[in-house]
């Protein structure tokens, strides 16, 4: 069964390219700091030196090795993106499915709550909360982004489930005396699995971009290096206007490569699994 699902994906060129780019960056984040074991925070020697044999990506104002920072930054940013996605996913799935299965007043209340969170500008709220937290770990940043990111997903899940619930096999399960929970896990969740996987990927993107945005205004993780934090220091030290391109171009490139490869993975999955989009 595994083969029949994933085989068509690996026959699609676009998917292969995007997936390889993504895996490559993930490997950079996981293995990079092990294979290139330099301390990203220590003074490496020269200040603001362009890429050389000794420092493949150059150094920053404090003599920090930018390649070491980049590799560790990828690791932190991926971790934040992943954690954000898990949190948004769990909340969105819970609210969306409870809303769809229970219906009635529960549905009304949950959906108004969802619409309110959807309408509150979440980046602004994240900035506001972050200003009051003096110590922000990577986890805190992920929770902040995750707790604010789920509403569109909850609405989509509810809509999908409502269309599934009226199918015949669900009706039969109800007749067979399934509880709501059984119904959700056995009949409904498999029906929304690919959709949820795609949403998960989009949430990872949201987490990575959100972290970079928060960091740039100085509200990112207070400890460690992330892609956003490298950019933040580049801005603070006027790297852009002083032409220190090796400082701000690589982290941005990685963010764009990472998020767009993930997005291409989801859209090709959509093209393949969604019969309405399949080319005729």
């Amino acid at each position: 069964m595994f083969g029949t699902i994933f085989k068509p994906l690996f026959r699609n060129k676009k998917f292969i390219v995007a997936f390889s780019v993504f895996i490559l960056i993930v490997l950079m984040g996981i293995l990079g700091p092990i294979l290139y074991p330099k301390d990203p925070t220590s003074f490496a020697g020269k200040m603001e030196s362009p890429p050389s044999k000794e420092f493949p990506l150059g150094t920053d104002t404090y003599g920090g090795d930018l390649l070491a920072k980049l590799l560790n930054g990828i690791r932190t940013s991926l971790y934040i993106g992943f954690l954000t996605a898990v949190i948004s996913m769990v909340i969105g799935l819970l609210i969306g499915s409870i809303s769809a299965v229970k219906g009635g007043v529960v549905d009304d209340i949950l959906m108004s709550f969802t619409n309110i969170v959807l309408t509150i500008p979440n980046i602004l709220l994240a900035i506001l909360v972050a200003t009051y937290l003096k110590v922000r770990s990577a986890e805190v940043v992920a929770i902040l982004l995750g707790v604010l990111g789920w509403p569109w997903f909850a609405r989509a899940i509810r809509a999908q489930l409502l269309s599934l619930i009226n199918r015949e096999y669900v009706y039969l399960s109800r007749l067979a005396g399934y509880t709501d929970l059984q119904l959700a896990f056995e009949d409904l969740i498999p029906g929304i699995a690919t959709y949820a996987l795609m949403a998960f990927i989009l949430f990872i993107n949201g987490g990575i971009l959100g972290e970079a945005g928060l960091s740039l205004i100085g509200l990112g993780p207070t400890k460690g290096v992330s892609l956003g934090i490298i950019l933040q220091w580049a801005v603070l030290m006027e790297a852009v206007r002083r032409g220190l391109w090796w400082w701000f171009i690589p982290p941005g490139l990685i963010i764009v490569a990472l998020t767009s490869s993930l997005l291409i993975v989801t859209t090709t999955m959509d093209e393949i699994f969604n019969p309405r989009l399949r080319e005729r």
Binding site: T119, P121, I217
Partner: protein, 342 residues
Amino acid sequence: MRDHTLNPFIKYLGRRFFFLLLTYFIALTIVFILPRAIPGNPLASILSRIFQTGQANPELLRSVERTLMEEFGLGKPWFVQYVEFITKALRGDLGTSISSYPKKTLELIIPVIPWTLILLIPSILIAWIIGNTLGAFAGYRRGSLVDRIALNTSLIIGQIPYYWLGMLLIFFLSVKLKIFPGQGGYTQGTIPNLSFSFLLDVLSHYILPSLSIIISALGGWAIGTRMLVVNELDSDYVSFSEHLGVKSKTIFGYVFRNSLLPQVTGLALSLGGALGGALITEIIFNYPGTGYLLFRALSTLDYPLIQGIFVILIASIYLANFFVDFIYAIIDPRIRLGQGES
């Protein structure tokens, strides 16, 4: 029957207005609760910071403390604090800034708001128009080479954060090629006035930050509209018109109009994110708007100013949201004529 029911147009707008007002109250409540709920009293930390810098004379310090105590209403029961906070916020009294004491926060916020509006509104509208048109053409020619190129570039462009694109534009067009100025809203040292040369100067400073918003926002709209158009092409009315021999240009017109409707709502929902992105873009460009003021407030931990900026920004987003709802109600005949209400 008609006499007893309200005009559906008014009813729809009334419902939206009530919803946005409710949401604004919730947002205000969050702004109220946060500094009081988070451990490590921010008031104490502000004062200790002022003490540490040692610049302030004791008398000024005492008067700052008194103002703060009064404005945060500390010591009073929480519901009194809450009512005071809300009534003050609605009256436009957003407290006194700490970093620019004794200026009112509103005095600091009002002059920077036009800069942000001038940067944000034309840029997102241009991005919306260009992106949707591109996406619609790509979707209509689905599967063609043009479609594939447009789709893939939009996918990647849409992932470039505003601020990083801004950095690239500054580096290449300002630092390297020296075509446009790379920072500020106007040449430093000049005094804002309405002369032609000053407006020209503002325009040359405007191009790069605006371009970074337009380019990176465009991709998302293009992808969205493409998908909507592709779905719309499957509808019965399209194949019916094709069989009738209706001109393809006319069919494209129908499809485009129907696909744009959800994108109007999308515009309202994207405003918050666009504003967040624009604030960061302003920081990158040292552009004298709200983002830059917020950045200064954050780095001096000027909590009243931070709060004030949020109360105003969230209110403006909701106003804009309501405006988009209004437009939506006008262009969607189902709402205008009160049909299709379920």
